[in-house]
Symmetry: C3
Subunit: 360 residues, 3 copies
Amino acid sequence: MSEKIAHKNASELLALVSSRRDFLRKTAITAIVGGTAVACGVPDSHAQTTKANGADNSGGTMAPNPAPVSAAAAADAMDKMHEAGIKAFPAKTAGKGNQLLAHRLENGVKIFEVTAKKIQWETAPGQMVEAWAYNEQVPGPQIRVREGDRVRLVVKNELAESTAVHFHGVELPNDQDGVPFITQKPIKPGETFTYEFTAPNPGSHMYHSHHNSATQVGLGLLGAFIIEPKNPAPIENADIDYVLVLNDGMHGYTFNGKSFPATEPIVAKLGQKLRIRYMNEGMMIHPMHLHGMHMTVIAKDGWLQPAPWKCDTLNIAPGERWDVIVNCNNPGTWAFHCHILPHAESEHGMFGMVTALVVK
Amino acid sequence: MSEKIAHKNASELLALVSSRRDFLRKTAITAIVGGTAVACGVPDSHAQTTKANGADNSGGTMAPNPAPVSAAAAADAMDKMHEAGIKAFPAKTAGKGNQLLAHRLENGVKIFEVTAKKIQWETAPGQMVEAWAYNEQVPGPQIRVREGDRVRLVVKNELAESTAVHFHGVELPNDQDGVPFITQKPIKPGETFTYEFTAPNPGSHMYHSHHNSATQVGLGLLGAFIIEPKNPAPIENADIDYVLVLNDGMHGYTFNGKSFPATEPIVAKLGQKLRIRYMNEGMMIHPMHLHGMHMTVIAKDGWLQPAPWKCDTLNIAPGERWDVIVNCNNPGTWAFHCHILPHAESEHGMFGMVTALVVK
Amino acid sequence: MSEKIAHKNASELLALVSSRRDFLRKTAITAIVGGTAVACGVPDSHAQTTKANGADNSGGTMAPNPAPVSAAAAADAMDKMHEAGIKAFPAKTAGKGNQLLAHRLENGVKIFEVTAKKIQWETAPGQMVEAWAYNEQVPGPQIRVREGDRVRLVVKNELAESTAVHFHGVELPNDQDGVPFITQKPIKPGETFTYEFTAPNPGSHMYHSHHNSATQVGLGLLGAFIIEPKNPAPIENADIDYVLVLNDGMHGYTFNGKSFPATEPIVAKLGQKLRIRYMNEGMMIHPMHLHGMHMTVIAKDGWLQPAPWKCDTLNIAPGERWDVIVNCNNPGTWAFHCHILPHAESEHGMFGMVTALVVK
């Protein structure tokens, strides 16, 4: 039996990966209850491993075998699942969120358009979830303007319920703040609403629904809204400017709408300066841990810190944005993940909030 | 059917609000399990909405109708619930916590008296909970003294179990620290105990039970204890000094003992400086998000930060106090809430940790 | 009945303590689900107290008595449980974690050896749990080297599954980073693997498993890895250097692998400077609250903060390390605990994440 597992052929490995996908699906469901259920599962790890092997046997090419798996074979089987997950990275999935949104210019106004509608979204290979999305992306398209720009956002609501857009962190006139029944009427299904303002305080901000928001933001109505400063501080200059939206709602544990191994690696050349703009759109903290190099924290919620400070694990709470600089001076492929371990790894391997920084 | 809902009359709206109250009641219960159950409920949002409409139908004036509600009507019904909640704000409830406690002066000693006893407390309209309270207030009355004052606190225990008072953050002689069997005997039911000390390190502190504290603090035995400095720093000067106690225990998600729409708005005049003293007496983090204006963080646990720093979302952990200054320079009514969205909004509308900053 | 409880003899008190141990056992199990269940138990507090008394009666020397316990007697019974817990502190248990690991020197290389294997670990008196441990310690032995030292760590895997060691916070060459299938092959059961590097960035770091890590770290494969700086800053100098590893996984809420009353008090002489190196190896935040004196925060993840700052409650997130200095200028025995109260106290008394700072 151990022999057989040790020499698994390709179709067997595929079956293992399938059972891993089942696990990912299950994880996405349990993630809804705040990670609790994921943690609950841990004591059952061996039971689950056994079951995974059982499923493997029946679905694969090996004859059913009721004899117990040896410890070495169980360790090998677990390792193969872990390896398969990592070798699959970065896995292809349909759809990519957080893509830069193009605008058109009209009389000096930068005009952006987003449509909110229900879609199917693939968070990891074969892992389809219902999403409520702007322009069919989770996160919604990245909106980038410059301090002082005149900005217009046209929001079309193709959802079955009302919505509204709040510009989280942006100090707007009250009637552009996007809170139904306080600053505007809700945007009804089928309606279009237009926001317009002059981009004020620069920094890493967000736009998201502020109507039935626990559900609507949880399902994907969120995106990065970045206001570039007229006069950036020298410390802000970077070769790579990377937005990393964290989420933990109905879609499982995700980075920019994807779960490992479908997350996107960040690739830098040796010596480059990388700016990461963390944005937490979820319900839980995520202490982000980078291997191999430290992060220099330069801004909180778009505001420069009075003095930069260093860390390797940065705790990001819901609604917070943190900007950090990484001097990519250590070559290699570096794990980069949430350090609440049940958000990042199970006995089936890494999943959820894991990606890599690759320094070439 | 959609016609009927779209033109709901007053009694129907009332029924909607009632079903909303039922929801609030349910929320208060589920909040006990740490917000988890609230999050669990989210995927059922449509099921719950349907049920709410069903209850509405049977309790209201409309004939029972087994036909499905149209999407537009469902959206309208949800919006009306959201609107009703916001229009009810600030809703009247019995009891107000955190009221400034008067003292009497005897031989240069400021004497304060609190009695701990079990009461009924209204957190939101019609939402009654059992509370263990100081002077029948949740939070207990606000105690404010000046650095160097001689202070006496007389604590009478009218509860059915022992208690003790710890001055959280105040650097007292050991025998005034309020920890049963370490620094004192517990205050038995019916007994009175007197604390006396000279007010040391200034800042935003708290007093609360340190006996069976998960239960006693969870039920309301807590309050603000503020020591004003002899020599305040210029940055501390403010036109409005507002204490905001966060809680998430057996009383649901509350600000100063009340849940939205019964929370208190903060009202400022344009140009005023507002100081908010956050105090977390709960079991969970609460990242507080202010719309429209940023916050300048000036102190942590009563100690001035080495340099003030800015944010719009400030993560407050249990036991922490953070002091911030808001320059009220943006007129309007601004949402102000915990950004763990299931602590602030459901498909029935805003609830729990929501209030507003009104700048006139 | 109240008379009898008020004059409990030693055997009765012992029975009370036994029922308390049962509670601790139960707590350790419920802690697995992230503290949620502990919080759930709170509304049942009186039911549980009654049950505890019932168990006490049947197991002790008193005759069964179905009559209700008077309020005063119930308060006394609760107080006795609380007192018994505190009087038992510091309670003896088998095993001590975080002991300084000796090295041998070979050609200028400091060689450390750890063996990972499954053991039984006593977290509180009578509270045995399965642990996966380095050198039979939870946390694993403390490794301390000096910046620039050549370090070799020989890891022997005597577990039934593969493992690997990641040096969390240490900026190593990629092939020493300890992530299976990214930087190395997993260390199979029975195998030995050797890490070797020159100690780079100084500070309070950690070593732990990075394979099936939610389980392996949760079960105890973790320890402190401290790199002392060549040129320490004056603010770092301290009379006592104390490592405090926080955990909340399968072993319940622990400080250095033990739960109150088996936690270790920190003992200082009046006027001494105490450095505490907090390290969170768990899945939850733990806002650490010190009574009587404040903490001056000097470093985050081993990096000095740009300016020290003061607090009495410091929020430690998973994977974070924070270094603080306490000027031990207030004599007495001071409670020192996580301020998420259900991590530190139940109606049966203090448990879990509680210890004391004793200033003599």
